[in-house]
C-alpha cells in the first residue's frame, strides 16, 4: 500500500498515512486531486479507480471516506476489506465510532492504524490482538479512558450507519431481482 487517506464528505482531511517517501508538496497535491475525484463519484459506482500509476480503492462510511492507494499487483477486494477491518477496529475501540471520535482523538486512530498496518502491509488481522496491543499501551496512560468525555459523543456510529445502509441496499437489490 502506498498511502491511506481518511477524509470527510466536506473534503476535510481526517487522517493520512504515507508508506512511501513522498515530498510534502506532492502529498498535498495528490490529496487534493484525489479528494476531488472520489467525492465526485456517485454512490452506486465502482469503488476502484485507476489514477496516475496507482490503483485507488475507496469506501464510504457515513460521512467518512476511506481511501487507499495500492500498486498494480495488489488485490482491490482485499484492500476494501483492509478498510473495513480498520473501521471495525476503530468501532470496537471507540465503541461505535463516529466521525467526531476520529476528529478529536485522531492520534488514537493513528495508533490503531499503526498497530494494524506496518510499512503498508497488514500486520495483524486479528481484531482482538490489535486492540489488546493498543489498550495495553493506553493502560499506561489513562486509567480512566472509557467512556470518553461526553460533549462529542453525539455523532452516529459510522460502522452502524454503514451496516444499515448496506442492508437496505441488499434488500433493495433482492427486491429488484423479483
Amino acid at each position: 500500500m502506498r498511502f491511506m487517506l481518511l477524509f470527510s464528505r466536506q473534503g476535510k482531511l481526517r487522517l493520512q498515512k504515507w508508506y512511501t517517501a513522498t515530498a510534502e508538496r506532492d502529498k498535498k497535491k495528490m490529496v487534493r486531486e484525489l479528494m476531488q475525484i472520489v467525492l465526485a463519484r456517485k454512490p452506486k459506482m465502482c469503488s476502484f479507480l485507476e489514477w496516475r500509476d496507482l490503483k485507488i480503492v475507496y469506501k464510504r462510511y457515513a460521512s467518512l471516506y476511506f481511501c487507499c492507494a495500492i500498486e498494480e499487483q495488489d488485490n482491490e477486494l482485499i484492500t476494501l476489506e483492509v478498510i473495513h477491518r480498520f473501521v471495525e477496529l476503530l468501532d470496537k475501540y471507540f465503541g461505535s465510532v463516529c466521525e467526531l471520535d476520529i476528529i478529536f482523538n485522531f492520534e488514537k486512530a493513528y495508533f490503531i492504524l499503526d498497530e494494524f498496518l506496518m510499512g503498508g502491509e497488514i500486520q495483524d488481522t486479528s481484531k482482538k490482538s490489535v486492540l489488546k496491543a493498543i489498550e495495553q499501551a493506553d493502560l499506561l496512560q489513562e486509567v480512566t479512558t472509557n467512556p470518553p468525555p461526553l460533549p462529542w459523543r453525539v455523532g452516529v456510529s459510522v460502522l452502524f450507519l454503514y451496516k444499515v445502509i448496506t442492508q437496505i441496499e441488499q434488500i433493495y437489490d433482492i427486491w429488484l431481482e423479483f
Binding site: C46, E72, E121, P151
Partner: protein, 1167 residues
C-alpha cells in the same frame, strides 16, 4: 498478552505515578485541541481559518520553545501541531521538538513523539539522524511497548544509511520470545529489504526461520519478504513450493486458530499472499505448477461464501491459474469464475471481471465472445471507470476487422474524458491501432460493405486528426513523429501513398480554414509539415492559399515559437519555387528581427531561398511551381528535406553507435507508447504453452514491416484463425500452406479447394471472412426474440457483431452456437426454405449485411461441404431437392417420432436437422428408408428413430445412419449397404467427435457384408461438451477379397436436443439444485400469446418439443427441469414479464444453458 502489561507495569512503576491525575490532565489537553477544532468548525471563511491557525501555531511555537514546558504538555502541543499540519499548515518548528519528545518522554509521550516524527518527516529528512540514538535505546529497552514503538517507527521511515547501525538489534529481535516483537521485527526487516536490499542479504537464512515460526502471525509477516525475494528471483526458491502449498492447504482446511479468521474465512490475507507467491513460482514451470494444482482447486472450491473476501481469494486464484502452467480443468473453472465476476450485479465484481478478462483475453478470446453482451453494456456504463476498463479489454481484442469500431469507441471516450493520465494512455493506444492497421480492409458500419479504398485512408487520416486534437500537447511526442514517418515512407504503392497524402493535405487545409486557434501545437506542427511537404500534390491548390493559411498561424498569439519555426520551415519549402512571394516576404521580414534565434534563423533561410529562386538561370526550363520539380527534388528541396526528415526520423550520425549497442545486446529502441503497451502486456498474464500469441504477433509484425497488402490480408486472416490453429494441437509451427488466402482486395475469396475443405471438416474452423462473420454474428445475435426487437437492443447486437468480429473460437459453443457455423463453407446465395421463418424476416429488415439466419447457415454448412464438386450449382438448382428434403423430413418425423407429438406441417427441430444432414444430390439411389429401417436391431425397432439419412457412398458401399432416442440413451445406428456383387470380408468403422463420447456396442469391427446386403453398427452417444449441434466424423474402411483397402468418410450431425431428457424432481429438490449451479443464462423469449394461459401453453410446447419436465407452475412463474445425457441437469425458471417469457437457465455444465436456450427459442418460434 496481559503478561506484557504486568511486566511493563512492574518494570516501570514510576510511570503510573506520573499519571496520578489523568482525568484532569486529559480534560484540559483534550479541551485545548477540542476548542481548536470547535473554533475551526465555527468559522465561515478560509481566510478566518488561516488567521486562527496562524495564531494557534504562534502560541504552540512559544510554548514548545519555553524551557518550562513539561513533556506532558509537549505531548499535547504535538497533537495540536499534527492537527495543524493535517489541515495543510506548516509547523516545521515543531519537528525538532517531536524528536525531543520521542527521546525524553515517558513511554506514552514517546508514543506521540514517534507518531509526530513519522507524520512530519520522511526518510530523507536530515533531522531523522537525531532519532537514531533514541531508536537504538528503545530497541534495547526492557519495556516491550517501547520496543514495539521503536520497531514501528523504524518500519515507517528510517534513514537508509543508518540501517547498519540498528540492524543487529532488529535481527536479534527475530529470536524474541514474544511473537508480537518477532512479527514487527520481520516486517521491519522487510521494509529494510525494500529500501536497501543489499544490507539484509546476509540474513536470508533467518527469514527461513521466520517462515517456520510457530506463530502464524510471524510466518505471515515473513511471506511479505518472500514475495519480494521470489519476484526478483523465482528460480532460487523453487524448493519452498511444497512448503507454501502445505501452508495454504492447512489454511484453506481451517487449521489456523479462529483468531485469524476474517468474517469466518480463514486468514484471507495469508491465503492471498500465498497465492501470489505460488503464482510467481509456477510461472513458466510445469513441474512446479503441478504441485499446486490440487490446492488451487481446493481454494476455488472452498471459497463459497458470498462475501468480498472470498471473491478476493477467488480473483487471486484465477490470476494464479492463468499464470502458471495451464491445466485445462482448472482453466475451465477459472473461466467460470471470471464469468461469475463479469455477470455479477455488483459493480466492483464486474469491474474485476472485466479486468480479469483483459488479462486472459489474448489467450482465450472465446471468453470475450461469451460475454459480449455484458461487454457492450459495460461500454455504455455511466461509470467512466467501467467504460475505461472495457476499452482496455477491447484494445486487446482489436484486429483488422473491428479496429474502426473500437477506435471509434475510444475516441468517443476521449471526448468526454477529463483525466490527463487516461487521455495520454488512450491516445497512445488509438494511435498505435491506427498505425497498425492504416490501410487494412476496414469497415465503417457494422459488418457493412467494404469501404472504397479511399474510405480507409480517410479513416486513417481522420482518426489521427482526432488523436492530435484530443491528445493535445500532453500526448507522447513520438505519436506525431511516427505518423509523419508513416506518411513520408509510404506503404507499397506510389499511387496509394499519393492519395493518402492528398487526403491529409485536403483535410488539413480545411482544418486551417476553420479555427486553427483551437488546435494543439503538436497538431499544428504536423499540419505545417504535411502542407510544406505535400501540398504540391494537389495541383489546383494555390501556393498562395497555403502560405496565407500558414501565415495566419504565425499571427496567432497562442502559437508557440516551436510551432512557428515549423511553420516557417514549411513556408520555406513552399516558396522555393518563387511562388507566393508577397506573403513570404512579409513573414520573413517580420521574423528576421525576432528575438528568438531559431525563428530568426528560419526567417533568414526563407528569405534567402525566396530570393535565390528568382535568380535567373536557376531553373530555366521548368515553371517555378511545378509538382514535378517538387517531387523529383531540386537540390534545395532535397536539402531541406534531409534537414527536416532527419529531425524526426533518424539521427543518422548515431547509427554506428546504435548498431554497436545492439550488437552488444542492448534492446532496440521502442517509442514510449509502445513500451508502455509492452509493459501492460507484461503485466497481463502470458500463457506460453498455448502458443496463442504467435499468430497474433505474426500478423502484427507483418504489418509493422509494411509488407505488401496481400501479406497483410493473409495475416489478418491468420489472426482470425489463430485460435483454431493453436487449438489444433497447439503446434507452434504455422501451416501457412494450409491457410488459404481468404481475403483479397475485393473481399472474401470464395473459391476454396476441396482438399482444404476436407481438412476442415473435422473441426468447424473459425476462419471467417469479416463480411460473413459480420452477417453471421449479426444474425445470431438476433436470437433473443421473435417479436420485433426494440431499437436499443438491436443496436447493441449490431455493435456486438462488429466488435467481436474475427474473434472466432473453436468448436465450443459460445452464445447460441455462435461459433458453431462454419461460414467459410457457406455460399451466400443458397437459401433454404427454412430461412423463411419469422426470425429471418426480422433480421433481413434490421440488418444491412447479408441476411443469413442460423438455419441457413446450418444447412449450408453441410450442403456446401457436399457440393464442392459442383461449385456452380445455382440457388434455384438447390432449392427443389432441399424443399423435398424438408417435406420428407417433416413427413418422416410425423411417422417415425410419434412420441414427440409433432403434428401438422411445422417442421420439428429434429425434422429440421434431419434436413441439415440430408444429401441434396445423392449419387445413386440408396436403399429406401423403409427397407433400411427393417434392419434396425430388434431392441430398437419399437422406439422412435430419426429419418435414415444417406451419409456417403462410393462404388461399392452406401452408408446411412439414423439415431434412436432411448430413455436413458441415444443410439446411433449406421447402416452399411454393400451395393456391389461381391462380398466384403472385413469392415472397420471408426467414429470420432469433439463434442461427443462415443461408445461402441459392436466393438468397431462390423465383420463382413455380402453383396447387396446391409451390415448394421450401433453406437451409444453421450455429450462431452454441449454445443447446439454436435457432429461425428467417421471412417469406414473395408477390403474386398481381392483389391486394395478402401475407405469412405462421412459425418453425421445431430442437434443437442436429441440428448435432452426430462428430469423428474420435486420443487424442493429443484430449489436446492438451483443454487449450486454456476453456469447460467437469461433471455426473454417469445410467448405463445394466442392462448388464454400463455405460460402453461408455452411450457407445454417446450415439454412436447424438447422433452422437458415441467416441475411446477405457480402463478406467473414456472420451473422446468431436464437432463442432458447422461446425467447432467439443467434447470429452467420462466416468468411472464412484459409480454415475453423471461427464461433463466442454470446448469453445472458450461454452455449447456446457452444451447438449451437456443432450442427453447426455436421451439417457441416455430410453434
Amino acid at each position: 498478552m496481559s503478561d506484557v502489561v504486568e511486566k511493563t507495569l512492574t518494570a516501570l512503576p514510576g510511570l503510573l505515578s506520573l499519571d496520578s491525575q489523568p482525568g484532569s490532565n486529559k480534560l484540559s489537553s483534550s479541551s485545548k485541541l477540542g476548542s481548536l477544532i470547535r473554533g475551526i468548525t465555527e468559522l465561515t471563511s478560509k481566510h478566518e481559518e488561516e488567521k486562527l491557525i496562524q495564531r494557534e501555531l504562534t502560541s504552540i511555537k512559544e510554548q514548545v520553545s519555553s524551557p518550562n514546558t513539561s513533556m506532558r504538555q509537549m505531548k499535547e502541543l504535538m497533537v495540536r501541531a499534527i492537527y495543524c499540519e493535517m489541515l495543510g499548515y506548516e509547523a516545521s518548528f515543531s519537528y525538532i521538538h517531536a524528536i525531543k519528545l520521542a527521546q525524553q518522554g515517558t513511554a506514552l509521550e514517546k508514543r506521540v513523539g514517534y507518531l509526530a516524527v513519522s507524520l512530519f518527516l520522511n526518510e530523507s529528512h536530515e533531522l531523522l539522524l537525531l532519532l537514531v540514538n533514541t531508536v537504538l535505546k528503545d530497541l534495547q529497552s526492557t519495556n516491550l511497548i517501547e520496543v514495539c514503538m521503536a520497531l514501528t517507527v523504524v518500519s515507517q521511515m528510517f534513514p537508509k544509511d543508518m540501517i547498519p547501525a540498528i540492524l543487529p538489534l532488529v535481527e536479534e529481535k527475530l529470536n524474541h520470545p514474544k511473537e508480537i516483537i518477532r512479527r514487527k521485527a520481520v516486517l521491519a526487516l522487510y521494509k529494510f529489504y525494500l529500501i536497501a536490499p543489499n544490507q539484509v542479504q546476509h540474513i536470508h537464512n533467518k527469514f527461513r526461520k521466520a517462515l517456520c515460526d510457530k506463530d502464524p502471525g510471524v510466518m505471515t509477516a515473513s511471506l511479505h519478504i518472500y514475495l519480494q525475494l521470489i519476484e526478483e528471483n523465482p528460480e532460487g526458491y523453487k524448493d519452498l513450493t511444497t512448503s507454501f502449498v502445505t501452508i495454504l492447504k492447512q489454511v484453506v482446511g481451517g487449521k489456523l486458530p479462529m483468531d485469524f479468521s476474517y468474517h469466518s474465512v480463514p486468514a484471507p490475507w495469508l491465503q492471498i499472499q500465498l497465492l501470489r507467491i505460488l503464482c510467481l513460482l509456477g510461472k513458466n514451470d510445469q513441474s512446479t505448477s503441478e504441485i499446486m494444482y490440487e490446492v488451487l482447486d481446493e481454494s476455488l472450491r472452498r471459497a463459497e461464501i458470498n462475501h468480498n473476501i472470498t471473491y478476493a481469494i477467488l480473483f487471486e486464484c484465477v490470476k494464479c491459474i492463468y499464470t502458471i502452467h495451464p491445466k485445462s480443468e482448472l482453466l475451465e473453472k477459472a473461466a467460470k469464475c471470471i464469468g461469475n465476476f463479469v455477470l455479477s450485479p455488483k459493480i466492483n465484481l464486474k469491474y474485476l471481471g472485466l479486468k480479469a478478462l483483459t488479462y486472459v483475453v489474448q489467450q482465450d478470446p472465446k471468453l470475450a465472445l461469451q460475454h459480449q453482451m455484458t461487454i457492450i453494456e459495460c461500454l455504455d456504463h455511466p461509470d467512466l471507470i467501467i467504460k475505461r476498463e472495457t476499452l482496455e479489454l477491447l484494445f486487446r481484442i482489436t484486429n483488422a476487422q473491428n479496429v474502426t469500431v473500437i477506435v471509434d469507441k475510444m475516441l468517443e471516450f476521449l471526448r468526454i474524458n477529463k483525466d490527463d493520465y487516461t487521455t495520454i494512455d488512450l491516445v497512445g493506444k488509438v494511435a498505435e491501432l491506427a498505425e497498425k492497421y492504416p490501410l487494412i480492409h476496414v469497415f465503417l458500419s457494422f459488418g457493412g460493405p467494404l469501404l472504397p479504398e479511399n474510405g480507409k485512408k480517410i479513416w486513417f487520416i481522420e482518426t489521427m486528426s482526432t488523436v492530435f486534437s484530443v491528445g493535445g500537447d500532453t500526448m507522447q511526442p513520438d505519436i506525431p513523429n511516427s505518423f509523419l514517418k508513416l506518411l513520408s515512407e509510404g506503404f507499397d504503392s506510389v499511387e496509394e501513398d499519393r492519395k493518402l497524402r492528398l487526403f491529409a493535405v485536403d483535410s488539413y487545409v480545411s482544418l486551417l480554414q476553420g479555427e486553427p486557434g483551437k488546435l494543439p501545437q503538436r497538431f499544428l506542427q504536423v499540419i505545417s509539415w504535411v502542407l510544406g511537404e505535400y501540398s504540391c500534390l494537389r495541383a489546383d491548390l494555390e501556393v498562395d492559399t497555403v502560405l496565407r493559411l500558414l501565415a495566419k498561424l504565425l499571427d496567432m498569439k497562442t502559437t508557440s515559437s516551436e510551432t512557428k519555426s515549423w511553420v516557417l520551415m514549411a513556408m520555406t519549402k513552399l516558396c522555393e519555387g518563387g511562388a507566393g512571394v508577397s506573403v513570404a516576404r512579409g513573414v520573413s521580414e517580420t521574423y528576421s528581427s525576432s528575438l528568438d534565434t531559431v525563428l530568426r534563423q528560419r526567417a533568414q533561410e526563407l528569405q534567402h531561398l525566396r530570393t535565390r529562386s528568382y535568380e535567373p538561370g536557376c531553373y530555366p526550363d521548368t515553371p517555378a511551381w511545378s509538382p514535378w520539380r517538387m517531387i523529383s527534388g531540386s537540390p534545395l528541396k532535397e536539402k531541406s528535406n534531409i534537414m527536416l526528415v532527419s529531425r524526426w526520423i533518424s539521427l543518422s550520425f548515431l547509427d554506428g553507435f546504435v548498431s554497436e549497442a545492439l550488437a552488444a545486446g542492448a534492446a532496440p529502441y521502442k517509442p514510449p507508447h509502445q513500451r508502455q503497451e509492452e509493459l501492460a502486456q507484461a503485466k497481463a498474464l502470458s500463457l506460453e504453452p498455448y502458443g496463442l500469441s504467435l499468430p497474433i504477433s505474426m500478423s502484427s509484425c507483418s504489418i509493422t514491416d509494411r509488407q505488401s497488402p496481400t501479406l497483410l490480408s493473409i495475416s489478418s486472416g491468420l489472426s482470425g484463425n489463430s485460435n483454431d490453429l493453436s487449438h489444433k494441437g497447439g503446434s507452434s509451427s504455422l501451416k501457412l500452406d494450409g491457410v488459404k488466402r481468404v481475403w483479397g482486395r475485393e473481399g472474401y475469396l470464395a473459391q476454396r479447394e476441396p482438399a482444404e475443405e476436407s481438412a476442415h471438416v473435422e473441426v468447424p474452423s473459425t476462419l471467417r471472412s469479416p463480411s460473413q462473420q459480420g452477417g453471421a454474428d449479426g444474425s445470431h445475435s438476433q436470437t433473443p426474440t421473435h417479436t420485433p426487437t426494440p431499437e436499443p437492443e438491436l443496436e447493441k447486437q449490431q455493435l456486438a457483431s462488429s466488435l467481436f468480429v474475427g474473434l472466432g473460437s473453436h468448436s465450443s459453443v459460445c452464445l447460441m452456437g455462435k461459433s458453431e457455423p462454419t461460414p467459410q463453407r457457406f455460399r451466400r446465395k443458397a437459401r433454404s426454405p427454412a430461412s423463411s421463418s419469422g426470425a429471418s424476416k426480422n433480421i433481413s429488415n434490421s440488418l444491412v449485411s447479408p441476411t443469413i439466419t442460423v438455419d441457413t447457415l446450418m444447412c449450408n454448412n453441410l450442403l456446401d461441404s457436399r457440393i464442392t464438386s459442383e461449385p456452380d450449382v445455382s440457388p434455384l438448382d438447390q432449392t427443389p431437392p432441399l424443399s423435398k428434403g424438408l417435406a420428407a423430413a417433416s413427413g418422416s418425423c410425423d411417422e417415425e417420432l410419434p412420441d414427440s407429438d409433432v403434428k401438422g406441417s411445422s417442421p420439428s427441430l429434429i425434422g429440421d436437422d434431419a434436413l441439415v444432414a440430408a444429401d441434396p444430390a445423392p449419387h445413386e439411389e440408396p436403399p429406401k428408408d423403409l427397407l433400411l429401417s427393417s434392419y434396425l436391431p430388434a431392441e430398437l425397432s419399437g422406439l422412435s428413430h430419426s429419418e435414415i439419412i444417406p451419409l456417403s457412398s462410393d462404388q461399392s458401399l452406401d452408408l446411412s445412419a439414423c439415431h434412436v432416442q432411448k430413455e436413458g440413451d441415444l443410439v446411433l445406428v449406421v447402416f452399411i449397404y454393400n451395393s456391389s456383387d461381391s462380398d466384403i470380408q472385413q469392415i472397420l468403422l471408426e467414429l470420432d467427435s469433439e463434442e461427443l463420447e462415443v461408445s461402441c456396442e459392436c466393438d468397431g469391427a462390423v465383420g463382413g457384408a455380402r453383396g447387396h446386403s446391409v451390415a448394421v453398427c450401433q453406437y451409444s452417444l453421450s455429450v462431452k461438451r454441449p454445443s447446439v449441434h454436435v457432429e461425428l466424423v467417421g471412417t469406414v474402411s473395408y477390403q474386398f477379397p481381392v483389391g486394395t483397402p478402401q475407405s469412405v468418410q462421412f459425418s453425421y450431425k445431430l442437434p443437442l436436443s436429441s440428448f435432452i431428457r426430462p428430469l423428474t424432481l420435486s420443487t424442493e429438490e429443484y430449489g436446492a439444485m438451483w443454487l449450486d449451479f454456476s453456469h447460467d443464462t437469461k433471455q426473454n423469449l417469445t410467448l405463445i400469446s394466442d392462448d388464454p394461459e400463455p405460460l402453461a401453453a408455452s411450457l407445454s410446447v417446450l415439454k412436447k418439443k424438447l422433452q422437458l419436465h415441467v416441475v411446477e407452475i405457480i402463478g406467473m412463474e414456472g420451473i422446468v427441469a431436464c437432463r442432458l445425457l447422461q446425467d447432467q441437469p439443467c434447470l429452467m425458471h420462466c416468468r411472464l414479464h412484459a409480454g415475453t417469457l423471461a427464461v433463466w437457465l442454470r446448469s453445472p455444465v458450461p454452455d449447456l444453458p446457452d444451447c438449451l436456450m437456443y432450442f427453447c427459442q426455436r421451439a417457441l418460434q416455430e410453434h
